[in-house]
């Protein structure tokens, strides 16, 4: 009995510790958590540092030359004495290739995301996803090399026929579809019930002829184009679009997935086809998430350096006419990459600072795009979860 009591006595206080020890435990816990917090805050500190250090080297440029020249002049002669630092053409070049790549990547990306989330069976999706991941993983310099060594000579030697065939392959199915839909709609509006089929057939052949004509005329026009230089905005836009695609697809797919099944079932139950369900119900519900995907994809294209540096032609002028994608352009990122080599020997020169000014511009744009897309995603999540 006594022995048991003894062990009992030890037991009873086994989980109660002295105040000093408890205090030490608390102290150690707080110290540990503070340390962890410090490490976790490292990222925030880095972001502040990036803004600070890029701005510190950018501000001297604006102090010396003001904002007017940078944003309004197209004269970029940094090596002259005194230099001219008009970045308008360069900003325009960046905008141009970004817009061009978005034009290609956004519709394709959204279509692919819809396909991945709603159309493909799971077994196929398993193989489609790694393809997209691999596309995202290929280093930008490899894309740049492809653009410079393979695509550019191809565009230069066979640009016209290439454009013509692309036009035919892409436009023919869409025109055919347009013909069918237009004939259907018009015949429904104007003809009586009994004549509708005849009317539709008539309209179809009429529109069909028109479509063939359009295909042919535009095709021959394109065929006649001679591309002076293969390193141009079109080349870069094509490559950039494939680099932006994986981002758009994966973010947009997430947005589509987060739209509940009930919404889809509701639409199907009303007799909608899959396309109608997706276009009229699911896509609108996921629209803000898709917008975020588009913003992130565009940022990927805008921030890309190697492809544009290698394959855009690096000519700082606004193309003539302004929408001419077959002309060489120069972008912000390529200018920073290309000119720093000459500028950084003379650290502190205007040429050095103007490149940081460009970096600051990119940084600010990316910061706000990120902020906006993040807000959008958060808001959509809230709406969809019904808060």
């Amino acid at each position: 009995m006594t022995e048991e009591v003894k062990t009992d006595g030890q037991r009873s206080s086994a989980f109660v510790v002295s105040p000093q020890k408890r205090k030490m435990q608390k102290l150690a816990k707080n110290a540990g958590e503070t340390l962890l917090l410090g490490i976790a805050s490292f990222v925030a500190i880095i972001v502040l540092f990036i803004f600070f250090f890029v701005a510190v080297d950018a501000i001297p440029y604006f102090q010396l030359r003001g904002f007017t020249e940078f944003f309004t002049s197209t004269g970029w002669y940094p090596a002259d004495e005194p230099g001219e630092f008009g970045a308008l053409a360069i900003i325009y070049g960046s905008a141009m290739v970004t817009f061009g790549s978005a034009l290609l990547a956004v519709p394709m990306g959204i279509a692919a995301a819809v396909c991945l989330s709603d159309i493909l069976p799971f077994s196929v999706r398993q193989y489609a996803k790694p393809v997209i991941e691999m596309l995202a993983a290929i280093p930008s310099v490899a894309f740049g090399f492809f653009a410079l060594v393979i695509l550019a000579p191809l565009l230069q030697s066979n640009g016209g026929p290439l454009l013509m065939w692309t036009w035919w392959i892409l436009a023919a199915p869409f025109l055919l579809l347009a013909v069918i839909v237009a004939a259907d709609l018009l015949s429904a509006r104007f003809a009586q019930e009994e004549n509708r089929k005849k009317m539709a057939l008539l309209l179809q052949s009429l529109f069909g002829l028109l479509a063939v004509l359009v295909l042919y005329v535009v095709g021959t026009k394109l065929n006649a184009i001679e591309i002076i230089t293969g390193t141009n905005a079109l080349n870069v836009s094509i490559i950039l679009s494939f680099m932006a695609l994986p981002t758009i697809v994966s973010v947009a797919e997430d947005a589509l997935q987060s739209v509940g099944r009930e919404l889809r079932e509701g639409s199907y139950a009303l007799g909608a086809t899959r396309a109608e369900t997706l276009l009229k119900t699911v896509l609108p519900a996921a629209s803000s998430g898709i917008l975020a995907a588009v913003i992130l994809g565009i940022m990927r294209a805008l921030g890309e350096t190697m492809v544009v540096w290698m394959a855009s032609g690096n000519s700082s002028h606004i193309p003539d006419p302004w929408y001419n994608y077959l002309d060489a352009v120069r972008t912000l990122t390529a200018t920073i990459a290309g000119d720093m080599g000459e500028a950084d020997q003379v650290t502190g020169s205007e040429r050095y600072h103007v490149l940081f000014a460009m970096g600051l511009l990119l940084l600010v744009i990316s910061f706000f795009s990120n902020l906006v897309s993040e807000r959008i995603v958060v808001r959509q999540r809230k709406i969809l979860s019904g808060q």
């Binding site: 048991e4 009591v5 009992d8 009873s12 989980f15 109660v16």
Partner: protein, 283 residues
């Protein structure tokens, strides 16, 4: 605490006026029957919601106490409060007093880590670590500073034997524990808990994820362990409660409605609510 203290504590509790029936000491377990866990006006809140309401009860050592009641009645919450697993939920806080061996579980000087070492817990779903069987059992002893391989082996064997699992796994201790069947996994979890030498075993619906055969084995195991450990088991299954336990608590909407010897509670419930529940009028 001396023997006198202990006796006086028992007396004090026996004479205290409570609206809850305090079961008397049974002779069937020698040395048992001491109030091991004592709740006094013990409430648990999730934020503003009172999940457990002013519970007063003594849990007797060495006996098996079952907690029954409909879903959401606070029985699991009460069980998890005993070894402070509810600390993981930020909004959870308690009022009143909960004592273990006469010391305040929620006291300022309580080291919840040492507390949990004394009060082991087995969960609803078998949750072995994705490690080998040996490492699963040795996890606790290693945590508390044991490194000697021989000693560890001894503890692993002892715990597995106690959990009636040794014969089934002795030849594959280095295999991944996730390869065991559900019932074996749950017994492994019991063994893992026993390896840290707790005084109390909390079983939170330990058989709800198991088939009838595996359930029977766990129930046998509880019978085996009875007398060596204070056992508390939350269960949905009233037959199980009546089979394995000496005492039964019935919770309803956060209140401890009735607490009695199992045989009495199931045959002659004092409270109307209890009767309705055990006869299946609601669940």
């Amino acid at each position: 605490m001396t023997a006198e203290h202990k006796e006086s504590a028992v007396e004090a509790q026996a004479t205290a006026t409570r609206d809850i029936y305090i079961p008397s000491e049974r002779a069937s377990v020698s040395g048992g029957g001491r109030p091991h866990v004592v709740a006094k006006d013990f409430s648990i809140y999730y934020g503003d919601f009172q999940a457990v309401k002013k519970v007063n009860a003594d849990i007797l050592s060495q006996y098996v106490t079952a907690i029954i009641g409909p879903s959401g009645c606070g029985k699991s919450t009460f069980l998890r409060a005993i070894n402070r697993m509810n600390d993981l939920i930020p909004s959870c806080h308690t009022t009143g007093m909960l004592q273990f061996d006469g010391e305040d579980v929620y006291g300022k000087l309580t080291d919840e880590v040492l507390l949990r070492k004394k009060i082991g817990m087995v969960f609803q779903k078998p949750n072995p670590f994705p490690k080998s069987i040996f490492d699963n059992i040795a996890y606790g002893p290693r945590l508390h500073g044991m490194t000697d391989r021989k000693q560890l082996q001894a503890i692993v064997e002892k715990s597995l034997r106690k959990a009636a699992l040794w014969d089934e796994v002795s030849d594959r201790l280095d295999r991944n524990a996730l390869g065991l069947s559900g019932g074996q996994q749950q017994r492994l979890c019991v063994a893992r808990t026993l390896a840290v030498e707790p005084e109390i075993l909390l079983l939170d619906e330990p058989t709800s994820a198991l088939d009838p055969k595996a359930t029977a084995k766990i129930e046998d195991l509880i019978q085996e362990l009875r007398g060596s450990y204070t056992i508390m088991i939350v269960t949905h299954n009233m037959q199980q409660a009546s089979r394995v336990s000496d005492y039964t608590m019935f919770f309803y909407e956060g209140e401890l409605v009735e607490y009695a010897e199992t045989a009495q509670l199931f045959t002659n419930p004092k409270d109307r609510m209890t009767e309705d529940y055990i006869t299946g009028r609601f669940s």
